[in-house]
């Protein structure tokens, strides 16, 4: 198992939005999807997922509906709202800018200064 990194504060919301943007998911599915798309390299506190989900729902970024899971259990499914999609786009862009900036900064050598 690859060594997993601690999640940066504030990034869980973005990850959830991304995960849900790829298709309707129940809470556990969100966890699996995040593991899948990050290659298991980010460690998510499983329980922390739920307050984050409720918060996003509260903000109108995702919405939920009770349904039935593959193994015939009652489960709550989340999907992205239009507002959430817009937010995801904004946040992704700003995240990428930050990441590029950080990467550039960290690549810098004494010659470049």
């Amino acid at each position: 198992m690859a060594k997993s990194a601690e999640l940066l504060p504030g990034t869980l919301d973005l990850l959830i939005l991304k995960a849900v943007s790829l298709g309707e998911l129940h809470g556990y599915g969100v966890l699996l999807r995040i593991e899948q798309i990050t290659g298991g390299s980010l460690q998510v506190q499983q329980g922390a997922l739920y307050p984050a989900l409720y918060r996003l729902e509260q903000q109108g970024l995702i919405e939920s509906e009770w349904g039935v899971s593959d193994n015939n259990r009652r489960a709550k499914y989340y999907k992205l709202t239009t507002l959430g999609r817009a937010r995801l786009k904004d946040e992704s862009a700003s995240w990428n800018r930050l990441a590029d900036a950080m990467a550039a900064a960290l690549r810098a050598t004494s010659q470049e200064i």
């Binding site: 129940h26 556990y28 739920y50 307050p51 984050a52 193994n71 009652r74 709550k76």
Partner: protein, 906 residues
Amino acid sequence: MRSLLARLRSYWHGLRKPAQLDADMSDEMRFHIEMEAQRLMATHGLDRDEARRRAAIAFGGVEKYRGAGRDALGFTWARGLSTDMKLGVRMLRKYPGLTAVALFALSLAIGAGAAYLEFVNDLLHGKLPFPHADRIVGIINWDQQAGVPESRSTFDFVAWKGTLASLDEIGAYRDVSRNLVTDSGHAELVRGAEISASAFRLAGVPPLLGRPLIEDDERAAAPPVVVLGHDVWVNRLGSDPAVIGRTVRVGNAPHTIVGIMPESFGFPISHSMWIPLKLNDVNYPRRAGATIRIFGRLAPGVELAAAQSELTAVSLRIAADYPDTHRYLHPVVDDYVTSLWSSQQENRLQQIVMYAANFFFLGLLALCGANIATLVFARTATRDVEISLRTALGASRARIAGQLFAEALVLSAIAAAIGLLVATNALQWVRHTVTVAQGNRMMFWWNDRLSPGTYVYAAILAVGAAVIVGVIPALKATGPKLQQRLKHATGGSAAGLKFGGVWTGVIVTQVGVTVLFLAIVGIMAWGIYFGNAGDREVNYPSSEYVGVRLTLDRDPPATGADAVVDDERFRARLRAFQSEFAERLAAEPGVTAVTYATHFPAMQLGEVELELDGRERPGDVPYVQTSRVAANFFETFQAPIIAGRAFSAADLAPGQNVAIVDQTFVRQALGGQDPIGRRLRQPARNGEAAGPWIEIVGVVRDLTVDINKRTYDSVVYRPAAAETLNPIRIAVHAKNNPAAMLSRLRVIASEVDASMRLDMLMTLDKVSAIDRVALDFFLRILAGIGGVALVLATAGVYALMSFTVARRTSEIGIRLALGANPRRIVLSTFGRALLQITAGLVAGGIPAFALAASLAHEISAGGGPLLAMWVCAGVAVFMAIVTGLACAIPASRALRIQPMDTLKTT
């Protein structure tokens, strides 16, 4: 926007079903753990229990995340609020004394405020109980030059009737209060109206029996018909279902009853009898003739503004045709009830003043709220430890303030509910009082139900009261010194919550205000119940006399009739009635004398200015009372002539300018000089010439007794022939059986002429009873406020004392243990409270005395500073006793403190 909606929805769910949401959350998390366990079983080959254990560990604390989830969903506050509410109810039960005081004061303040708003709204903007009430309008024809309404508008009414398209109904009425005489011969005055048949169409209220007035009744040749109100039908006709078709007399004219209207109908104001208004001529004189009021109904879909423009256009056309009369006339159409009040410019101001008076009730509520806040603060102080610990454990200031607010809200909500009940009763009482005082029913649209707006207002008042009662003490209790108090709470030595200077001020003010109110109530009550306030003592046995006021209605002269002839005919009728009536009365057994006048003794007479002949400064004219009387007036009222002569029958003839004055006049206006032969007259005013000189021919003993009589209490009597007085008051001296005379008078009057209107029939000792109704009304209101002030002041002192004892329990315990004298302990502990009470008594007592002294002689015969002093002293002693008792309970509690207990807990 969407996010806001989502949030609101979530709050709503949280409020509605917090338990359901909690269960859903648990479900979701359990599902997660089970799925994870299954995965672990499949990928790691763990057995079921081990997989579950690991899955639960990986998930973390379910409780913790559920809490975080609740916070994220934002319904913690909702749960908190409902918990706070429950706590609030528990607090109310735990402190019944505080609850009772607070409910009493708040419900009275909220109730009074709500009742007043409802009263003013009903009065000024009442809603008619008709299907299309909002479309019913009144039209006032303003004379813009004079600034007064022109109500001689028959010409305009006829002109508008055919032309206005924005009104689908238009009608007019004029008041005709007439005696209604039934088959039994019983005659009683009924307030009625000559009214257009359209009134019944625009009202849309079907009659209870028969039919309403119809267009056909308005024809000049139509047989006379009458529609009667429910109250007349019940009281006068015994609710007879077969009444339609019966004949009654309205005044002298027989009318056939064609309909009975239901109880809720009293259009136009408070009428109970309707006869057709016959306005059939095409040409009425402009700005002349009968005075009428005009009403109408807007056609469907027409706005008030559109109707106004049309009316203005029409009136401009009329003004162009008849500039001599109509140049300045401008009709204004307004909502019906509003139009009744907008007839004068001052009334607009009056309306503003009436609404502004609400601030008085807001002030009362704020005062009550502040007082209760004192009590709540004292109670909060006993929960000091609880609050300090909760703060230490992380409760925010807002959270604690919120809890106290919720408690206060529970309190004020209950108070508001009680207050609304009080308001309903208060309105019934007001209606009753007004009805008694006016002798008329209230405006027919008045009802005892409260309008939705009033409920909303009461709710706003309740929230406002809760803010004062709950939040202010909470902010004080959770203030920045909390840290120190925490130390104190946990055994440290710093001081706890204090009853600061503000509360001291509140208690001093309370005691002062209470003294002031109780003193006024005391002096008024004394005046009304012991001092015959409003009564003037009279110099004759007034209970043996029966008096009545008679009015003969004069029908408007027929068009083209000779005014002088008509005048003479009316006088002849009046003379015939009066002489026959007087003769028949005198013939009654037990009647010793019959007389007449414009006013009876002890009545508020007509006040006039009089110029005295030979007075040094001619411009100096005294105001005096005047009455016109019969020749035998003084003899009948057993008032001897003490100088000069009495009136004789010859004095009644026109042109006899003589007068008799009373002793007060001689003393006050003439400074004791001999009045006989002196002359007086009405002074010249505003370009009008002075009246003729009138010679004083005699002096009569005062008919009323009052030691503080001023010049304006003196009376100048002038002789008058009965036929010149309409209305006229007739007094009968029936020594042996005045009660029987009361009913005989009515019978005799209706036998002589049933159209004669009788009112104010009473024995003469009741003359001032009408003034007493008003005095009594104010007395009760003041007594209510005084009661609230007393309860609040007493409760405030009690709270202060309990608080002090609670604070100083250990000190008192130790001092008792060391053998201190209990009396000294009580004095040292309660010294401050006694000081505050004394300060309050003095602060309230001085203005109370000043006010009482000035009221005393106005209100109570023979009252003066001495009476005021007694009343104020009584109130002060009463206050001292009551507040002393409020101190005594905590004091005895202080003395019962067991030294051992306090030493153990210290």
